[in-house]
Symmetry: C2
Subunit: 245 residues, 2 copies
DNA sequence: CGCACACTTGAACCCCCTCAACCCAAGTGG
DNA sequence: CCACTTGGGTTGAGGGGGTTCAAGTGTGCG
């Protein structure tokens, strides 16, 4: 795994009168709220890293030494039971901030499911910096609240929805997320495996596969290869996802 | 429902050189981080309310006009599907802060499951106050992160645990919460009905009842009446809750 | 090519849900 | 005082949605 000073696009040039200009994730990122002078302070404590597919870069119950800001790629955040059962509690993509727990240990593990790029912030340094950057703290609070709302929605899914409702909900969630990246409307990309979708939705691989096959034969969706998928009947999917139908 | 100026214990006296002194929840509450002068500002915008059992004081998807700080009693926070299926996303007790969503509408409903006492803060006024009270914002961020961790734990439960593991987890969670209130060690109070426990754990009433009966015949727990329950075999319950056994 | 891994499909099973009956305690009211 | 109601809790019998087990089909990559 390579590590380098932040600001990859400017590596080798003078050390950034305007930091993070090369960062593709800056627009959606939490870093964006602080002004240029403060962003230099942020960049000064950040270390930019490439993380290979399959690499576990946060291990549950390990000491929480760092925060991460994903700038490219996708990671799965998951918890495990002793016998190997796995629950994915979320997928982190460009702009997401990881490690916000108050606890001194991580509450979940994180693994890159496709090549990942992230800024790593030493926990203590960032905590210290937070005291002088109230806008950043405010932005983190907003971000945490947003995640909390999504977590509650996921609890409703896991506790009360049927397999079809879960898969439809997942596709709609991806559809909303896909608005950001550059895909034709009604198309989504699924960088995760069926097993991972199952571990996210509280189902088995087989049930996910069967349900997707059902949707396909009903012409609600179409598999286009390369992990890309077309949502052919958005209104129906939305209705199923919300428990109507 | 009665409403009155905050500081119930001091109602009718001079308006509190030291506000919130009568509040039994102040110790655990988010308000506690701000110093006396700032707490007066907080108390100035707060309205103290008694909320009767069964009263729904937050309605999902309604405009989020207020924040609440629970000072006594218990509320259930829940989401519903159109056909009536219900998922309880948490129980709020003394010291808990509600309504933290960034969104302008509530993301869940809240109902008092026993007589409730809460401080109500107009959203806009509190938001404005937040800008001048960074310690309060910091405390809210901590609180949100803590809730996020608990939500992720609940996702693991809802997605991957068996009925027995869910009930054991619930009992252990209550056991940790009970440490605060004045019950003999190993004893917990369950102010919620079996139906509500089921709606929290993603199970039916019958399954909850059957599982508790099983634990009782195995002498792992004992029902003492009045919603009080003795945990007779904590190590075993803990092991089951974490997926061992 | 051949191996590994992801995905799909089929068949049998099982845990939990559904439906139903019943118990019990607390009101309520004649 | 008892008859009746209501709401929460328990227990039993049967059924079903999703899991488990198993086999087979791609598909990328050394």
């Amino acid at each position: 795994m390579e590590t380098q000073r932040a600001i990859p696009a400017l590596a080798g040039t003078t050390l950034a009168s305007e930091p993070c200009t090369g960062c593709e994730a800056r627009r959606e990122s939490v870093c964006n709220v602080v002004d240029i002078r403060d962003r230099m302070q942020l960049a000064a404590i950040a270390i930019s890293r490439n993380i290979g597919k399959g690499h576990v870069f946060i291990e549950e119950s390990d000491p929480a030494t760092d925060f991460f800001n994903i700038t490219a790629g996708t990671a799965k955040l998951y918890k495990r039971l002793p016998d190997g059962r796995q629950q994915i509690v979320g997928f982190a993509e460009a702009g997401d901030f990881l490690g916000l727990a108050v606890s001194t240990t991580y509450s979940f593990s994180a693994e890159a499911i496709e090549p990942l790029h992230a800024c790593r912030f030493p926990r203590l340094k960032l905590m210290r910096l937070l005291r002088t950057l109230p806008q950043l703290e405010h932005r983190l609070l907003e971000s945490a609240c947003q995640e909390l709302v999504m977590a509650q929605e996921q609890m409703l899914l896991l506790g009360r929805k049927t397999a079809q409702e879960r898969v439809a909900s997942f596709l709609m969630e991806r559809s909303r997320a896909a608005a950001a990246c550059g895909l034709p409307p009604g198309h989504i990309r699924l960088p995760m495996t069926r097993t991972e979708i199952g571990d996210y939705l509280g189902l088995t691989v087989e049930t996910v596969s069967r349900t997707m096959s059902l949707f396909r034969t009903q012409r609600r969706i179409a598999l286009l290869g390369g992990g890309v998928l077309a949502l052919l009947d958005l209104p129906w999917l939305e209705a199923v996802a919300t428990g109507l139908v």
